[in-house]
């Protein structure tokens, strides 16, 4: 099933939204999930990379760090409250 990078970005965004607050997803988790969903021929790692870049550059998602790097929805950082 052939898809575009933007479609993959949308699908990734939905996943991040669905898992927000439940499980933190890494870039490689999203890539694995997309390859599983669309198949390696329709959606390769390069396309997933472009999709993640689009998600971040459009501010729909942000990188976070909690012992490793994750991709999450933008949210107010709890510890930043006093700043």
């Amino acid at each position: 099933m052939a898809v575009t990078a933007e479609q993959v970005a949308d699908a990734m965004y939905d996943l991040v939204k669905e898992y927000q607050g439940k499980k933190k997803l890494k870039a490689m988790d999203l890539t694995h999930m997309m390859v599983e969903r669309y198949g390696a021929e329709g959606c390769d790692k390069k396309m997933c990379k472009a999709a993640i870049r689009s998600l971040i550059d459009s501010d729909r998602c942000v990188y976070t760090y909690f012992g490793g790097s994750y991709i999450e929805l933008p949210h107010a950082e709890g510890a930043a409250g006093g700043g």
């Binding site: 890494k26 870039a27 490689m28 890539t31 790692k45 990379k49 993640i52 870049r53 971040i56 550059d57 501010d59 942000v62 990188y63 976070t64 760090y65 909690f66 012992g67 490793g68 790097s69 999450e72 933008p74 949210h75 950082e77 709890g78 510890a79 930043a80 409250g81 006093g82 700043g83």
Partner: protein, 413 residues
């Protein structure tokens, strides 16, 4: 008797760290405390932590500059009402120039930027090699980044990405450099910008480039991929210079030949002979007689993989993955190798698992097969012992059949 800092707050426990003959970070922060409220509160919070034996810093979370997932390390204190000036005290990692060469003008620019946007405190340099700018607020991140990029600086790596590659001074100042460490470091940095700024790996990945086996950047202990200069021809010998060392009091038999780990050298009082086939490139003789001995001319690098500090598992040193690789622009061979390793690691690595750990978990044989590298005897865990590669290709079917027949024969009474 305790001293007081610039604003009169007593910090008796920190003051202890100013005593003695060594430079003190407390003294340096106190100097800045006269100008910056952040530094004053930083001292007070640290004093409190020492008193209470409790750390008051939270590390991580959401901070960064637009589009980047690395380069900013979020720091928040858990007492923001009491220490509002350092409620946010984020660290920026700035990609240093290869070999840490600066002009004084550039250093002043960096300090001016940091005085304007942050605490003014720096760490030159962090253990990865970056310029570390300590302490700013979330609001100041983008303006700082803008000012840095206007002066041709970029952020370095942090999190699960390629960390800022680093290199020894190499051919710029050292006659033993077996490849151009500065050029390779810069090339890797430019080539892997995406991997450096957008974390996509199970965990961090570090490149360190050392020009010769002296390994001045300690790449064998501190980098996932250690690129250590070496040579594959003979050590160059100037016999007249060797004799000069002897005439000037160097005991060549005892201090040079006697300290050679493989005893591959002989000194007859007139000439020094080296059995280069048995030389393990330890550099001892070259270091001891730099005017007489030099690395060969057929130079390149040994590529090692897997060093790490203890996190999930214990510390380990890198081990050889490619005994000799020519390193010349455009460095396609080493880049291709790195990408094959990343593909396998990203596909199969567990969260926070370093490359050295996945090598151990899946076994060296499987790892080599996955990255398309043939096993060879140089891939050993320790010099001259313990080969851990299983050579399947030497184990023919006929041997198996013969073994089986032998066993069956032995079983018959």
């Amino acid at each position: 008797m305790s001293e007081t800092n610039g604003k009169g707050s007593a910090t008796p426990m920190l003051d202890e760290l100013e005593k003695g003959e060594w430079p003190s970070f407390v003294t340096q922060i106190k100097e800045m405390a006269a100008e910056k409220e952040q530094c004053q509160q930083l001292l007070e919070l640290l004093e409190r932590s020492y008193r209470e034996k409790i750390g008051h810093w939270k590390h991580g979370g959401i901070v960064g500059v637009h589009g980047y997932g690395g380069g900013v390390i979020g720091r928040y204190n858990d007492l923001p009402e009491e220490f509002p000036a350092i409620a946010h005290f984020h660290t920026l990692r700035v990609n240093m120039p290869s070999g840490w060469f600066y002009t004084s003008d550039v250093l002043r620019k960096i300090c001016d930027i940091w005085d304007e946007h942050g605490s003014g405190l720096t760490n030159m340099h962090g253990s990865t090699g970056d310029i570390i700018l300590l302490g700013t607020t979330t609001d100041e991140l983008e303006p700082t980044f803008k000012a840095l990029t206007e002066n041709d600086f970029d952020l370095g790596g942090s999190g699960s990405d390629v960390r800022t590659p680093s290199a020894c001074v190499g051919p710029a100042r050292c006659e033993w450099a077996c490849y151009d460490t500065l050029d390779l470091c810069n090339d890797l940095t430019q080539t892997f910008q995406d991997e450096l700024h957008r974390p996509a790996f199970p965990y961090k990945f570090k490149f360190k480039c050392s020009g010769c086996p002296n390994d001045c950047v300690a790449s064998i202990a501190r980098s996932d991929m250690s690129i250590i200069g070496t040579w594959r021809d003979d050590i160059r010998i100037d016999q007249d210079a060797v004799r000069e060392y002897a005439e000037n009091g160097v005991n060549i038999e005892r201090d040079i030949c006697g300290n050679c780990p493989t005893k591959c050298m002989e000194w007859d009082g007139h000439d020094l002979e080296i059995d280069n086939g048995n030389c393990v490139k330890c550099m001892h003789c070259i270091n001891a007689m730099p005017k007489a001995l030099r690395p060969g001319v057929d130079t390149g690098a040994t590529i090692l993989l897997g060093a790490k500090a203890p996190i999930v598992q214990g510390a380990q040193l890198s081990s050889v993955i490619v005994p000799f690789m020519k390193l010349e622009p455009p460095y396609d061979e080493i880049k291709d190798l790195a990408e094959r390793i990343w593909d396998f690691w990203s596909e199969n690595g567990k969260n926070r698992e370093r490359v050295g750990e996945i090598m151990q978990r899946v076994g060296m044989g499987n790892f080599l097969e996955a990255i398309g590298v043939d096993p060879i005897p140089e891939m050993i865990a320790y010099p001259r012992e313990n080969p851990y590669v299983f050579y399947e290709e030497y184990y023919e079917e006929e041997d198996e059949e013969a073994e089986q027949e032998e066993e069956e024969g032995a079983a018959v009474p």
